[in-house]
Assembly symmetry: C2
Amino acid sequence: MNRSKAQGELAQAMPLRVRDRIFATARELFSRQGIRAVGVDAITCGAGTNKMSFYRSFASKDALICECVRAQQAEYWQWWAEVVAPYADPRAQIEALFAASVRRGCESNAAGCSLNNAAVELREAQHPAIELVRAHKADVRRRFALLAGAAGAADAEALGDALLLLLEGGAASLLTFDRTDAPVHGLQAAVHVLLDAHLRTPTRDA
Amino acid sequence: MNRSKAQGELAQAMPLRVRDRIFATARELFSRQGIRAVGVDAITCGAGTNKMSFYRSFASKDALICECVRAQQAEYWQWWAEVVAPYADPRAQIEALFAASVRRGCESNAAGCSLNNAAVELREAQHPAIELVRAHKADVRRRFALLAGAAGAADAEALGDALLLLLEGGAASLLTFDRTDAPVHGLQAAVHVLLDAHLRTPTRDA
DNA sequence: GTGTAAAGTTACCGACTAGTAACATTCGTT
DNA sequence: AACGAATGTTACTAGTCGGTAACTTTACAC
């Protein structure tokens, strides 16, 4: 009856509470195999428990999905804050974000942006998780525009959007390219060019 | 018994042959609702026919998916050729491709790149369609590098990859942003900056 | 030890899925 | 008229899915 028996391949060194084990397993499986491809049974089995315990912790699979999206979003902003923290210069912060993003993307098992993937898998329905993803992406866009403005860009929205496009493109490129030579490795160089163009002569003729 | 009876909402003004109607309906539904979300019954019903006729025309749903991907790929290159045709200058061709891409993305009902969406929905399995998507994306990357080289870029791979990243990012941005103000509208400006940076002083010091 | 809360077990429901068998019908060609 | 190919119709299999009911077992607190 010990939890460490071999039934849950993912259940080793996991949080004690069943709910947390289910949640961690779900995030892992969702990101690796996709939301629609992973059933409730697969999650509970992977967490070393059973379906009834699942429905005692979550109202439905959809509710679990929403919670996964919220967690992803929270961790993203935490990651952002940590990456940005060592730098005071906005331009340095931007470059650090992209450097860390390339690292993160290539190290992760997941392909692409898990929030975008969720949006793809859950479209057509007005699935509640999609609104969360939309709101998050709008937040990221706003943050990039703020950073671009702080860096001194004349057109902060334009620079911010260009950066966002590159970031999304980098994640998307990991969907179909081998991470060892994916186009995402050209991200930083492209960002550098964009920053140079938008931030040149910051306080010359004003 | 006339095909024009109301059973197939999509079956009006469609090709005569059942196989073609099924194929057209499948592509429409796949791109709007997703591959996994659309069942064989929904396709055949939308095409104004039935499941048996489906399996007389296609070996399986997976085979149909592969054929849809192949068609998408073929139409993409045809679109590319038509967009590029009016221009002789490689840089003008690149800019035309992005201008047309923004137009295409904002006019289309589909959100994002349908091939990327397929890769998201069919991952985990070594689904045959995914190899087609991979190969196609590698082709696009190669074509961009060739174009960048023809335009006179010192580092054609770098410019080509940067362009590919922007293109993919533009498509991805349509997944979660309203197409009226999605970041994709900044695509051409960003491309212009990148081209200027990579193509400046083309034959000066060589 | 006893009570209580968390978790495990088994069995089930209804809906949906891809795919098939057997048969009936339409339609164009000759 | 007749033939054959394409298509429609109905019914079915077997599996999976999300979700639930009723009950049993564990573990911890007092």
